[in-house]
Amino acid sequence: MSQATLHAVQTASSPAVAEPILRVNNIEVIYDHVILVLKGVSLAVPEGGIVALLGANGAGKTTTLKAISNLLRAERGEVTKGTVDYNGRSIQNLTPNDLVKMGVVQVMEGRHCFGHLTVEENLLTGAYTRTEGAAAVKRDLEMVYDYFPRLKVRRSSQAGYTSGGEQQMVAIGRALMTKPKLILLDEPSMGLAPQLVEEIFEIVRQLNQKEGVSFLLAEQNTTIALKYATFGYILENGRVVMEGEAQRLMENDDVKEFYLGLAAEGRKSFKDVKHYRRRKRWL
């Protein structure tokens, strides 16, 4: 690992200063007993923070999120080393159900809607763990419909028959229905129309500011992710290769070139990218 680049962005103001709501310590994840995917990932999400997790395809973002929300077991993966703490408490042995009750919810990559349930029923399953009564749930349902008017139109269609973007809205809305404190968002912008992408991130910001919800956000759309995030980690090949405040990351030359598409000369047209670029790796 080239220490130089690492240090270039590592600043004193690591998020550890504010008491983190989530801390991942040096975890290692193995799938199927043989495929080593995460090779010691550490990160922290401060209470009320929005943290972006960036990295190329296959870097291990999804795996990291699943390790936190304990959905790995369902994929025959396991955390073999390291710890995950939420609010200072180890959560590795809790079920996803316990986690949701504690306010940790994951929006899974690739939508995963309940195809045979209607859009509204999908949203209501999100309220399964809630106990504060029908009225509160109803209110939140209306809130989700406010965020995503399209869902209201399609509320009684079976989710399996809705379009890709509509399903993505369902998945996000369903997670919001759990009334979370920490949302693990896996590629929320995938497949969404541009103006909706903006809206989603506006929702993130609103929830974050008004309700104090924290976010850990795996995203390919680096530009927008860093715009809304306070802190960012860059993952390559199962390792964190760079971390820093969002602002600083955006200013880093490598990040600019590889993730934001801003070379020294400014933004290039997709048409003009002549050669296949050999990826510059930090490893």
Binding site: I30, H33, V34
Partner: protein, 359 residues
């Protein structure tokens, strides 16, 4: 260091497309073939041959057949017993109607006849999928058994409905079916058959037909959209699968038990073969053998275990325990590796490859 593909570079795609591109695998296969052909016939007792080796080979054929349909083409079938019965009765009719027909052709012919029947019952698969199809294939299972039971023509008007294998020989005078056939002759005859069938299955599954099956299995709509004709592909899977099952049925009746009534191919056989395929590994020819071996050996071991351990348990208790252990083992193996013994074997190889470093 034992099992490495590193250093075995392929200089042409043809070389990379061999069945067993890795040297160690080729050696392994050769050793197994040598043992099966050269050593086992000499050392295996009659009990071992007739209750383990022969049923193992017979069931391997059936398992390959079902694996083609279910493991490769993704069409869940519980009609295996019915197709095996078709093979058995077709072989009986063929060999009694044409007494001079070589037994090899009797077997192949029964396979072909079963293939036609299989296609007939495969037609609904175009519309019916998954468990619905599985239950629908039970229609084939029950209907075929009923038919052979009901129509006396199939049994040459035997009053009991039982058929028994007429004595037949290969190479002039080596008896391979009937009561006078020596068990070793039966075993070797069957072994050669199995060898060819397994090779053919392996080849089919790695050529374009096999890819079409797997495409249909993994995502039939996408497969159709990229140009694979669903009906044709599914029916070809039904045909070839039934071909294998038919031969397995013929071998069962002619070589294993020597006589059968339709009831012998009851739904339990269908389930048994399905077990083999799943425990062995869906979509794996090797798995078919592993599964068949597992399923043939396990009950024999379980029934003999108390005796070997010197325990004196009444037979009914043994049987009940056998059921329990059998059920528990199935669950256990599924949990350890849902993709079957073949996958377990593969992971083992992968670990071996990484050895001595764990990851």
């Amino acid at each position: 260091m034992l099992y490495r593909e590193a250093g075995q570079f392929k200089t042409s795609y043809a070389a990379d497309q061999q069945i067993f591109p890795i040297l160690q695998d080729r050696v392994g296969i050769a050793v197994i073939a040598a043992i099966a052909l050269g050593v086992l016939p000499l050392v295996a007792t009659e009990y071992l041959t007739t209750t383990i080796l022969i049923p193992f080979l017979v069931m391997s054929i059936a398992a390959i057949g079902l694996n083609i349909l279910t493991g490769y083409a993704g069409q869940l079938s519980l009609g295996t017993g019915g197709f095996m019965a078709t093979g058995a009765f077709a072989a009986y009719k063929l060999s009694t109607a044409f007494p001079d027909l070589n037994i090899v052709f009797v077997f192949l012919g029964s396979g072909v006849i079963t293939a036609f029947v299989g296609v007939l019952f495969g037609i609904p698969s175009l519309r019916i999928k998954g468990f619905y199809l599985a239950v629908a294939t039970l229609a084939a299972q029950f209907f075929l058994l009923w038919l052979f039971n009901k129509v006396p023509w199939f049994t040459n008007y035997s009053s009991s409905g039982v058929i028994s294998a007429p004595p037949r020989a290969i190479f002039g005078d080596i008896m391979v079916t009937g009561s006078s056939a020596h068990y070793t002759a039966k075993y070797l005859f069957l072994l050669v058959f199995v060898g060819f069938l397994a090779l053919a299955a392996k080849n089919l599954t790695r050529c374009h037909l096999g890819r079409a099956w797997m495409a249909i299995r993994d995502m039939d709509i996408a497969a159709e959209i990229i140009g694979i004709k669903p009906l044709q592909t599914k029916l070809s899977a039904f045909a070839i699968s039934s071909f294998y099952c038919g031969i397995a049925g013929a071998a069962w009746a002619f070589i294993y038990t020597g006589s059968v009534e339709p009831l012998a191919f009851s739904i339990e056989i269908s389930f048994k073969v399905l077990f083999m395929v799943i425990i062995g590994g869906l979509g794996s020819i090797l798995g078919s053998f592993l599964g068949a071996g597992f399923m043939v050996l396990l009950p024999v071991i379980l029934t003999n275990a108390p005796h070997i351990l010197g325990l004196n348990i009444p037979v009914d208790m043994i049987s009940h325990l056998e059921y329990m252990i059998f059920g528990a083992l199935i669950i256990f193996f599924l949990i350890v590796e849902p993709h079957g013994l073949a996958r377990l074997w593969q992971i083992g190889k992968e670990k071996l490859r990484l050895w001595p470093f764990p990851y």
